[in-house]
Amino acid sequence: MSECFCALTFTLLFITVASVEAATCPDTDALALSWLDKMSRNSQQLSYHGVATLQRGGDLQVLQFSHLESQDDSSESLIKLTGQGAQVERAPHPLDCIHPGQQLLRMGDALQASDCDMARQYRFSVVGDGRVAGRDTVQIEVVPRDMYRFGYLLYLDKETGLLLKSETIGHGHKVLEKFQFARLSYSEAVPSVNGIVVSHQAKHPDALNPAISAPVSRDWGVNWLPRGFMPTDTSFGTSGRRTYTDGLAVFSVFLEDLNREMRPGEGLVRQGGTTSYTRGMLIAEEPVLVTIVGEVPVNTARMVADSIAWEH
């Protein structure tokens, strides 16, 4: 795990960031950016556990989170207290392993270089405060500057910067998804839970041995991304999946070779803020099925699907 994939990503990211020309950040609240910075830096370095709810449309889930921090790493788990009774555990994750999405939120240095970074994609502002799970929070409004991503209302713990509540906002100020802690405790004593049926160990990408699941026959690429999105992996090859993040939103593109042509068309399913968009199409005469799964609007998925091509 010491050969963390992040070391590679970090270099990549540095180049990307450095190549972006400096610009002024219009109508951006520096205070809001510093809060996001704090959230990204601190959230890995806290010990806490709590019960939270996730509301998506008519569906309400109750979840238990726990996060344990030690000197060099942190481990965490999520337990679905309703529904499936599933548990997801993450083995100790090095604190110095910073993934692209987390790095994007750490705008402290970028700000000093008057490099707007994420502020080019979103308008951030501190809009108020309030209490969540008995903690004082600061409320940050995140408004997208284009139509390729959703907006958010984030409530961060005033003391620790931990994200205690978030609302995903679609067009027309419609709340697509609401997450919030109901109870939270900053301690290391994690309550035990009975009735766990399925336990999953969260995987961690490995730069040296990238897991290529469901490979496709040829190299392929996505030729259009909304501004500010970058890959979460360092190498792709013939992997059937590509994932991209802008720091807040994440979407994955899956490509499948088809052994026969199918009637071209597209289908869409939405659950809360998650879009699943599937398109059967031809790329240079070869039939493929493209699926985009992620927390982005459907027009983003469509555009991305349009831009997929074989490489070379």
Partner: protein
């Protein structure tokens, strides 16, 4: 263009606009040069992505959409916008979730799989602003690709094909959401919450 207008336009592109929003956008697009230009720009972007010729794009989109809408209304067919709830509550097709595309085609997608018929959809029939999920995007090499974004003139899909593709999208969500969550958990501020969006966690 005002923020409200941008939002309505976004809704139209998302296929989520209600009739009021749709009317507003159309009205604006007729009178407001900027709104119209924005539409055209998106179409151009999409068009060039597909290597299409730009010569075909100099049309008045709002006019096209408007006439499509009118045809929809006068034909008395399905409403322009279907509510999210309606779509979610729509009874699922009866075929089971299959593990592969091939299986899906066999079990559920007779309609999808029927290729080879030269006239797989009638390009002359009335265009429609279709509520998602809908719309064939014209991807066949020789013909210029018409711009989409959920509001372009798209061939009307057979309802059965539409249903099959919707179910395919649902099936793929189940299949891929855990892989997506693996990545999202490490690259978004919500961390492990990403896994809560996975319908069925697998070991």
């Amino acid at each position: 263009m005002t923020d409200d207008m941008r939002e309505s336009l976004s809704a139209v592109m998302d296929g989520e606009a209600n009739e009021l929003e749709m009317e507003r956008v159309l009205k604006h697009a007729v009178t407001d040069e900027e709104t119209r230009a924005t539409w055209t720009r998106y179409h151009l972007a999409r068009h060039s992505l597909n290597g299409g010729s730009l010569a075909h794009l100099d049309w008045d989109i709002s006019e096209q959409v408007r006439s499509a809408l009118l045809e929809e209304h006068t034909a008395g067919s399905a409403p322009v916008s279907t509510g999210f709830k309606q779509r979610v509550l729509r009874p699922m097709a009866s075929f089971a979730v299959a593990a592969s595309v091939a299986a899906t085609i066999v079990i559920g997608g007779q309609q999808i799989a029927q290729v080879g018929n030269a006239d797989r959809y009638d390009r002359n029939q009335a265009v429609a602003i279709s509520p998602p999920p809908a719309g064939i995007v014209n991807i066949e090499g020789a013909n210029p690709v018409q711009a989409s974004y959920g509001m372009q003139s798209i061939p009307v899909l057979q309802p059965t094909t539409r249903t099959a593709y919707r179910d395919l999208a649902e099936q793929r969500l189940n299949k891929y959401s855990q892989q997506h969550a693996e990545q999202a958990a490490l690259n978004s501020p919500q961390g492990l919450l990403s896994y809560a969006r996975v319908p069925q966690i697998r070991e």
